[in-house]
Symmetry: C2
Subunit: 254 residues, 2 copies
DNA sequence: CGGGGCGTTGACTGAGATCAATTATGGTGG
DNA sequence: CCACCATAATTGATCTCAGTCAACGCCCCG
């Protein structure tokens, strides 16, 4: 039997790069220990030279930079199963920070273990490498999203992405997900002001695409949301996506 | 002795992840053949499932997507030494296209060779992996640049990045570089309209930060350009950067 | 020498930023 | 249970950066 802690990673890799039971066990054994983090704390900071990678087990984190004039840009959100700083074992210095948006649990993977696994288990290495490449694909999408789409489209796209990322690790009920994001978080992610995020969300709600309560987001019309954001889940590389995945309401492919 | 063709890659890896002569030789031998490409041609297209990676030997290419409404977003430019589609050996389907901006030469590395090298030569694998991680770091910078900076800052930053990328592979004379980019290319990269790029470039020229001729860009005031773009070359991971690197005019660190 | 691509210019427009309150909301301590 | 506080959401008014539209000029190339 294996630790229940790794489940999110295994769950994600099922879509990405299925590992054997043996490989899973090895991957598990690389985690030296887990750590509990409060909400709104920086786990890694720009300029740090970490000696561990972090596998997120529970909670949501964001990757961000603070620019010269104090403005913040969020470059990604991460859900359980993500090794959100896998790059740190090859790039010496962090060029951005990672902050929790909720209480989180992370498993620490020492860089030494990363080096070893890279050398001894090329398939595991490739799985992790692939994961970093999917992250890069997500960055590219964000560039296109921020560079060329309207506020309405951007937020629709962002919400689709967040929803799917939750869904593939079993964190949605098919209709709704936990929603710890403030409007400022969304603005900093989408390159918009808080005020404009507020008005745009109202529009999305008014059109019935989404509904929000304090701490949950519910999809009102998935197809319309996908259309509004011109969202195509392909870039998330969900090779093994089941019929329900990426189509929360079981809508049939046309 | 080794092929002069690989020089740009070796030159880049000198900064990134120095390989031994033996490793260089092995890397070389993975290139099955080289190919000549005309300017303005797509070498890989969105939706393709390539069976080779491309190492750029000569010329400039851009990575882009065409959005639903026909608008284009460029997500990166690549200079000689870049394996611009290294990800294609782990991600089945291209989620974007690559287009030459000049006549180019590329060396083809079969995916089979990538798999083999990954398994047999973990150090080479890590060098390539690291290269893909630097690309990801560049994507993150673009997100911050597009999401939170003014047109003037964006273009200054973009020009700095392009200049440095040329410089590290010996494609600058310390003062100027070849400049095949149209104002539309720059606009599609920076998330701006052509008209606004034009006016913003005029401003950069008027302030003496840059000078342009038909096909060359000359730096007028590097320090001011760096300041204008809040450019920090650190994200390019030039660990082995010599004193001249990233400071084209030998300005002394303060 | 004529046409197409690219750069440039001017006039107008508009999406989204900024500024400045005001109103929930949830947590905390009394 | 309630006053109090901080954080987040919301609203209205105004402003501005950058987009759009429409010419026009330049230069290279056939």
């Amino acid at each position: 039997m294996h630790s229940p802690h790794l489940t999110p990673l295994v769950q994600k890799l099922r879509h990405l790069f299925p590992l054997t039971a043996e490989e899973t066990r090895i991957l598990e054994s690389t985690c030296s220990r887990t750590q509990r983090l409060e909400s709104q704390t920086d786990t890694v900071c720009e300029g740090d030279r970490p000696s561990n990678c972090n596998l997120l087990l529970e909670g949501i984190v964001c990757r961000y930079v603070i620019l010269e004039d104090g403005r913040r840009q969020i470059m990604s959100f991460h859900t359980p199963g993500d090794i959100f700083d896998a790059h740190s074992f090859l790039l010496d210095e962090m060029d951005h920070s990672i902050r929790t948006l909720t209480p989180c649990t992370v498993a620490l993977i020492p860089h030494t273990a990363m080096v070893e696994i890279t050398e001894r288990h090329p398939r595991i290495a490739r799985a992790i490498w692939k994961d970093t490449l999917v992250d890069a694909a997500i960055f590219r999408q964000w560039i296109a999203n921020i560079g060329r789409r309207s506020a309405y489209q951007r937020l629709a796209h962002l919400i689709c992405e967040i929803f799917i990322k939750h869904d593939i690790v079993g964190l949605s009920d098919g209709l709704s997900i936990a929603w710890p994001f403030t409007q400022m978080d969304l603005g900093d992610a989408a390159g918009l002001s808080v005020v404009h995020v507020n008005r745009t969300l109202q529009e999305l709600r008014a059109k019935g695409l989404i509904a929000t309560t304090r701490d949950r987001l519910t999809i009102g019309d998935w197809d319309a949301l996908v259309r509004a954001g011109a969202f195509n889940a392909r870039y998330l590389q969900l090779a093994e996506a089941g019929p329900g995945i990426a189509r929360p309401f079981g809508a049939k492919p046309h």
